[in-house]
Amino acid sequence: MLNRKFIPLTITCCLFFLLFGIGSVQFEGFGSTQVFFNLFSDNAFLIIAAVGMTFVILSGGIDLSVGAVIALTGVVCSVLISRYQLHPLIVFPIVLIGGTIFGAIMGAIIHYYKMQPFIVTLAGMFFARGLASVISEESIPIEHEFYNQVSAFGFEVLGGAWIGSSTIICLVVLVIAIITAHYTRFGGRVYAIGGDANSAALMGIPLAQTTIRIYAISAFLASLAGIVYSFYTFSGYSLAAVGVELDAIAAVVIGGTLLTGGYGYMFGTLMGVLIMGVVQTYISFDGTLSSWWTKIVIGLLLFCFIALQQLLIKTTPR
């Protein structure tokens, strides 16, 4: 029999293939490997951000600062590269380390001042978005040979599909995240805190260290998502990526992770993003529907998944 804990993930996977199948039957060219891999390359930054969000939600928290950190990262990158003529390979470590410290500070505030993650990361969101706007209200283009090389980099796979650098980055991040979540002690602690922080503490789990690391990881991945995002846009803009944190949360929940923490899988988050991507692709293939239909479909899916989760919780045998 199918293990109960795999039900949401299984449904997510089935749903993805169902949607993809419908699209393939309906539209010529939908069912190609290129369209499939485009789901990754188009949503690479979202996958990366959602992976970070998964750690946070698994631990029973939330991180609302993700979109703002993506924008801030883009702005800082573009300023340092275009105005100060620094090489991107020097800039990237700077923004990644900066982002990680930013997340660690939020984690520390959440733990030591016993504050709601919602409020702390909301403050972080305003701070990061505000800082980005103070640095520059205008969109700053990034012109650097390295960026051209990165966006040209890639290789062909079977079926003639092209796999670009952002797809490679997001897949590497995903693999590392899956291993971290399921095969390291840190991963176990994340689930433990999400299950019951009080019990976890009594079992000897270091709460402070784990909480700080979780938010540091989320902010690190948000910064990385910001870098990947700048590969698409070749610019940094303080109003970019508004609401990406909510897309990430939606992807995590559709992927089968419980918002209250403790249950879920990293792989599900990937499926959550892919489902959102496939809906978007369907709508663009159709051509007559407004792209805002994506939001409506995502809204309905979210609603169904939350209802499903409640059902599973209520019917859990005791």
Binding site: K5, I179, H182, Y183, T184, R185, G188, R189, Y191, A192, G194, G195, D196, N198, S199, A200, A201, L202, M203, G204, I205, P206, G262, Y263, T316, P317, R318
Partner: protein, 497 residues
Amino acid sequence: MSQVVLQLQNIHKKFPGVHALKGVNFTLRAGEIHALLGENGAGKSTLIKVMTGVYQRDDGDILLNNQAIFPNNTGDAQALGISTVYQEVNLLPNLTVAQNIYLGREPRRFGLINWTKVNQDAAQLLKGYDLDIDVTQPLSSYSIAVQQLIAIARGVDMSAKVLILDEPTASLDADEVQTLFRIMRDLKARGIGIVFVTHFLDQVYAVTDRITILRSAQLVGEFETATLSRAELIGHMLGKELAALGEHKPQAHATSGDALLSVQAISRQATLSPTDIAVSKGEVVGLAGLLGSGRTELCRLIFGVDKKHSGNVTFHGQPVNFSSPRDAIIAGMGLCPEDRKHDGILGQLSIRENIILARQVKQGWWKFISRKEQEEIANNFVKELSVATSDIEKPIEQLSGGNQQKVILARWLAANPSLLILDEPTRGIDIGAHAEIIRLIRKLCDQGLALIVASSELEELVAFSNKVVVLRDRQKVTELTGDEINPQRIMQAIAAH
């Protein structure tokens, strides 16, 4: 005598307003099961939390194998070899059984967790506890009894020298208790020192070697289980050596004899067997019994906090059926609950606001009590009950326990009740305030108020009760009146077996 593993010397622990441990000693030897006993508030749980690093001691020494230790958290204590299993099983329901057992110390290969080994080891380990279960299932799919054994297995496997079982049997049935005892004896044979906290005296005699008794934050003493009689044990717990209690004439006073409250066969499943109790105007009825005897439960049923499953209540000659405390308040009752901090005070609110509460409920929320009237009421009671405070606008949580209790009493008196139920009114408050509260109880019943007072302080009950109802094992065993009310008789009734 076997070797001492854990020794606590002269442990002090203070919280704001409470001196929770006053120089307590505790000695645990390897290969013994040692009961830690005491009524609520005696300091048992504080002592355990000090041992396990949840609290840090203010003074005193903890020696583990003759080495002073300073655990800062449960992780430290576990690493040192002190593991604890709680009544409500503090494991993680969302993780598998195997994950729970090895959380934080999973066997690794090349830096990654080796799940095959985790699961094999867990299954192997649990076989030693006669548990042949699927360790890859979430913990929540097993019963509390199984979860408890899993918690014990985890604790012991973490190289425990000391295993603390905090009320492990409270939610187990008889068979499960026997299984637990068998495991405890096994572990004892392996040289582990076990601290066993319980309030079931039968279990103490069934499984323990020694008993340490705490009372009012102090050590009463350490005893050999085999040589301590049940009556002596209860005497120690409730606070008087049998011999020392001679004639203690109850200060009975005349009552009008008019029935005020009459309760017939009130009961609630798994909480209280059918019990009768009658209270006349101006009478003080004492409720005696150990923790878990049904004292508090009876108070809660009468007041409508819990729903009764059977029984009739007549109040002021009218049959009543309270569906909530609000009904009881409006009918003219009041209840000072046992757990003052959680159920009594509203910590952030001022003394005035705390006092005014019950009267406001009685009048209905739409009938506003003017600020001036509120202040008048609060000031009157603060003066009358001599609450030690400079200002009635101070948050109540800043007062000492005794003064908080007076404010709670004032709250009810302000609502002008005809019956007041006090559940452990003197718990956790200092001697001075204690005496004042007793004086106050007497004064109130002289004024014609009827009271039901549940207490584990026998002297206290004797000092003011016209009648004492004794409860044991969730049922009424006897009712004492007149000359029968003396500590000895009460204790005999509690201990009778």
